[in-house]
Symmetry: C2
Subunit: 478 residues, 2 copies
Amino acid sequence: MAKDKKVEQITDMEVDFAQWYTDICRKAELVEYASVKGFTILRPYGYAIWENMQRIMDAEFKKTGHQNVAMPVLIPESLLKKEGELVNGFAPECAWVTQGGSEELEERLAFRPTSETMFCDHWSRVLHSYRELPMLYNQWCSVIRWEKTTRPFLRSREFWWQEGHTIHETAEEAMAETEQQLNCYADFYEKVLAIPVVKGRKTDKEKFAGAEATYTVECMMKDHKALQGATSHYFGDKFSRAYGVTFTGRDNKLQYPFQTSWGSTTRMIGAVIMAHGDNNGLVLPPQIAPVQVVILPVAQHKPGVLEAARALKERLAAAGLRVQMDDSDNSMGWKCAQYEMKGVPLRVEIGPRDMENGQCVLVRRNDGEKTVIALDQLEEAAKEQLALVQKGLYEKARLNLDEHCWPAFSVEEARKLQEEKGGFIKTMWCGDAACEQKMKDEAGMSSRCIPFAQEKLGDVCACCGKPADKMLFWGVAY
Amino acid sequence: MAKDKKVEQITDMEVDFAQWYTDICRKAELVEYASVKGFTILRPYGYAIWENMQRIMDAEFKKTGHQNVAMPVLIPESLLKKEGELVNGFAPECAWVTQGGSEELEERLAFRPTSETMFCDHWSRVLHSYRELPMLYNQWCSVIRWEKTTRPFLRSREFWWQEGHTIHETAEEAMAETEQQLNCYADFYEKVLAIPVVKGRKTDKEKFAGAEATYTVECMMKDHKALQGATSHYFGDKFSRAYGVTFTGRDNKLQYPFQTSWGSTTRMIGAVIMAHGDNNGLVLPPQIAPVQVVILPVAQHKPGVLEAARALKERLAAAGLRVQMDDSDNSMGWKCAQYEMKGVPLRVEIGPRDMENGQCVLVRRNDGEKTVIALDQLEEAAKEQLALVQKGLYEKARLNLDEHCWPAFSVEEARKLQEEKGGFIKTMWCGDAACEQKMKDEAGMSSRCIPFAQEKLGDVCACCGKPADKMLFWGVAY
């Protein structure tokens, strides 16, 4: 940490939420812009968050039998085109390789925007018998989608993700997988990222290109805008048929397997920033924090202070925590501000007076709460405080969500509620895409999902007045 | 495992080594060809090996303070061109993106062949003071080099690797880093992959485009051909100057940092195949084996056998080993052949007679050695046998290397030795690139390295007869 560096002020989130967000991305040293338009660099601190996310999710995927693979990054245009809806959905956003070395390619190759086509192509060559099913694959990689406007983590031309792709003997098994993976995402959001989600199904208008059904976890940010957290898709046997993926079934006849895919991306880092951050910077849930505890020696020039601080560091590291000690010659104020900006969940302060009293001070990042503890209880107390950070973050985010869901009974009422209060607007919906378009055009909201937890708000569609038996969540989405 | 599947024979390595190699790649289910020419798919078993390699190496990198990042995959041509040697080295092999979405790009973008340019560009924007140095970065990703002829793992248009990139305040520190990372690779090869290496410096002809010096670990395969294992490069301040990377030094003046890069790739899997494999298939060193122990119940229909096998599995898993139990209805012969093909280092057999005697049988993959052990010693014995596999693999590979290094004193003698005996041919060398070319043209060998462990074979160059004080290793390389 450089002595001559200052922790700069960031924009107030009440004044300009978008600028506040960008300020955190830059000043917490998560990302940096690259010299290629629309591309970003994940810096060490940002990447370390992503690594923690990857480690936790990857372990969950493996527990349920998924295996990682690596598919080629380039997809021949003809292969991409075999399934009409998919290519219509993604071709307009592809980056195309047209030259390899000194040769002009006969066929242009798309940088993968998603890899259903590659997985199907592979399976069409390696799958033979029902005994080999299910095939439960996942890959961690980057994809490119040529977006017009970009924002760090939320929308960039290249982003990092995992894409799970599976095939199954029966439709029921594939549907169960789709559901299982949606729940896996929901658990990750709620239990790891401390962000409550609304689980539901996407409308046909909003579903993944080529999918029979898309399920989603939707979250709410501090500005009451919606963010699609992760999605899980059921394809039926549509892609299998398009790509000629077959197997010999139990009845000795050739059959098409049923398919799923599911994905989550580095946008989860954006979700964490906007769900938990404050005007002092980032606030990280403990499980994904690169540094969970920072130890700051007070009056570190006094005899024994540094040694005491170092001892605390070693004890916490031995207890399995990710811990740092800052003995740089920066001021205490600078250090506090710096680690707040970086969202370190717990700060431990120890100085001469604490040492005399056999104690130290624990300060939670999320609510600033200070706790004085006896030194011999350090490990236990630190873990307890981290659990309280996690709990505090979740509860606050839960409140934010619960207090910003509004029922509406007309497009105009929905528009007003969004304008005045923000959040998720819930209405009955007839199922007609024209009504979705109307809500978009007149109230500026897209449908977020048809929540699994339905409420019967009435009998008629808020958009057209026709009979309706589904409740839909609407929102202004990132 | 499908009952109706057969373990197919693979080509005899003595008859056709290249075909033997390809057979293993396919039949051990490591890779599959993709529908894009020159690209391969890493299948679950191959990728699991790569994951184990990554985990071990990544932990080593982090121990010495390196941090992971993610740089954009596309590099503008103008950025790539700033350093002349690098672009001359890589531009002919680049894949070029010329279209993004529906727009023709004004400037074409190269799919990264290596990322020195991106790191330098980033550093030119974020580096300010000597206090921020060193910056020790690494990334795990794939790169593309548009090769004409390809072979799984050894040479493919896309491959997976790690590329470390660091900048330092002084030349000495950068040189120490280059050396440290070379030693890190050497240790990984010798202690994890059980492959002995020759450490040395590349000649100017063979060094990395743009580097001041390239260091390498060179290995020998079972066919006595050479394989470049991994490389570590020292750049001086050449790239810093080309890309305008500067910092304010201790003297308060603007300075250029000194730079290194170092990389290792999925070709390490190819090295493992060719260093340890045999005519029954793959042989994996225990630390990178996705399955370290397979348990095969003998006469599994007999009462209690499956339960006993399952108990062994649970005990070994609890002891921290990666273990599988195969209770499929395939024959014992099929199972043995299958797990030999997959290179599982240790097989445990248990049947009714073993149970009566309170014992089981441990069989090592590398030399077929069987050991009968008392059941209560399972954990200890399994770990001991795995250590013996590791030791046996290393010793055999060591012998293969030591017994195939031949001194030569003329190009003609070198040619004959390579033709008749194969391996590394060592000669004195004057330092002239023309002599390297002569060896290439007349003896079909490239220079592998100037080994750190020098021997004085004589006073004159084997190629031109002029005074020479360096000993060089030559070989036919993959």
